[in-house]
Symmetry: C2
DNA sequence: CGATGCGTTGATAACTTTCAAATTTAGTGG
DNA sequence: CCACTAAATTTGAAAGTTATCAACGCATCG
């Protein structure tokens, strides 16, 4: 039960700049997004974060809410024994960093070079006060987040094979082009997300490939060959 | 990976009756409770559920919100492979069954004979519209729930010993009389909550007792002998 | 090139589950 | 209240799963 590396280069952006112009359609934003996502894009500043840089830290005041424009983001927490637990992965269009408490419960880092819209939380809640549909969307967002975490609990009580299969299906749902899933994150990220080791993740993927459920042409690209088999494994 | 029993006697209360009179202080309600809890007690009907009876079922419309008056309650879900996953335990004063979606995501059962206040969700949200403090409390409740589930994710990536130690500390925080924790639930309930087998839970408790961290005078009563040791094990 | 990071594979150890049985506790009827 | 049966818990032995430790391959980058 020893710590896994969790190496970090952690440059910090010190100031929030106004966006240069919200350049509509500039990036691949997740398909449908509600009023809320659009409002954030209008109100917020776009910031760029290089690969592996910190977006915010655990226990920092949660004064801002974030939305991924391009690239991808992970949230995580370092446990007392040094292990790293990844809280979630956020892809273009996803909102993250919205907290109920005053402080962030996770840290956030860019997995790959990322552009992120940053909005003051107070501005968002003020907007929700004026526009009931925004309030409902914030509420719904919270509900989805709760559901997402509950689903992860269900995933974590299962075997390694079920966790990996479940993870692939989750990513496929969120980021698939046909049957091809491009994983932005490393094996270590996946392992820390699923509560496994990188070796077990790697071996499980190899096993799924041997079982003809997937193909792994490159380590970051997974082709789903047999979804029903994956669904079966997922339980 | 086979199903564990999950035996159920499942009488259902069919109708909601008006309470006979909210008889203040009639029962041991958790220490401090906000406006919300009090309002529920005023507005709601008190219902009695015998041990192991169903309070609501997964996928039923979530039209009511519940608050434990006496006894205790578990929520759970049966997974496709027949295993049972316990979602949480609710003690006197705790609110449960509040959903974001239209349907319950878990089933709920009385662990021991239980009295529960039942309030129409619509009545509660209407109240929240008139009384902002209720709205805030509902919001805070959601935040706590989210935190609770996130904490469980952190628990589930750990070893059996860490999970059991963490569980005992959680229960101690919620229901301890000094260092004595009375567990309302069975080993099977604990196992299904922690994603372990009853044998592992039992052996781990025996191990903690051998290590002088706890005493187990009866199977449902745990005496915490060395909290710092438990905290250390908890990670 | 040679260093470095990432991913895979192998051998072994540690941990948890499974299957089986013994023991204790709780519930029921006399 | 006691005896009896069923249920819950504990304990043991063996099997299965995952982690750990170690080595290797591959690609990138200076």
């Amino acid at each position: 039960m020893l710590p896994q590396p969790a190496i970090r280069t952690t440059p910090r952006n010190e100031a929030l700049r106004r966006p240069m112009a919200p350049a509509a359609g500039q990036v691949a934003v997740a398909a449908v997004q509600g009023h809320l996502g659009q409002s954030m894009q209008m109100m917020g500043a776009v910031m760029s974060f290089p690969r592996n840089s910190e977006i915010f830290g655990e226990n920092e005041p949660a004064d801002y809410v974030y939305k991924v424009v391009s690239g991808s983001v992970r949230t995580y927490k370092i446990l007392s024994d040094g292990r790293r637990q990844v809280g979630g992965f956020y892809l273009p269009g996803d909102i993250f960093g919205l907290e109920f408490a005053d402080e962030h419960t996770f840290s956030a880092e860019a997995i790959s070079d990322a552009k992120v819209v940053v909005v003051k939380r107070s501005a968002l809640t003020a907007l929700a006060g004026r526009d009931a549909s925004i309030g409902r969307e914030l509420f719904a967002l919270t509900g989805r987040e709760l559901r997402r975490v509950q689903d992860r609990v269900l995933l974590l009580v299962k075997s390694a094979q079920e966790r990996v299969a479940g993870f692939l299906l989750e990513m496929a749902e969120r980021a698939a082009a046909g049957n091809i899933v491009e994983l932005p994150m490393s094996r270590q990220d996946i392992a820390d997300y699923l509560g496994l080791t990188i070796e077990t993740v790697s071996r499980t993927l190899t096993g799924l490939e041997t079982a003809a459920a997937i193909e792994v042409p490159t380590s970051r690209r997974i082709v789903l060959r047999n979804r029903s088999a994956l669904n079966r494994l997922n339980g």
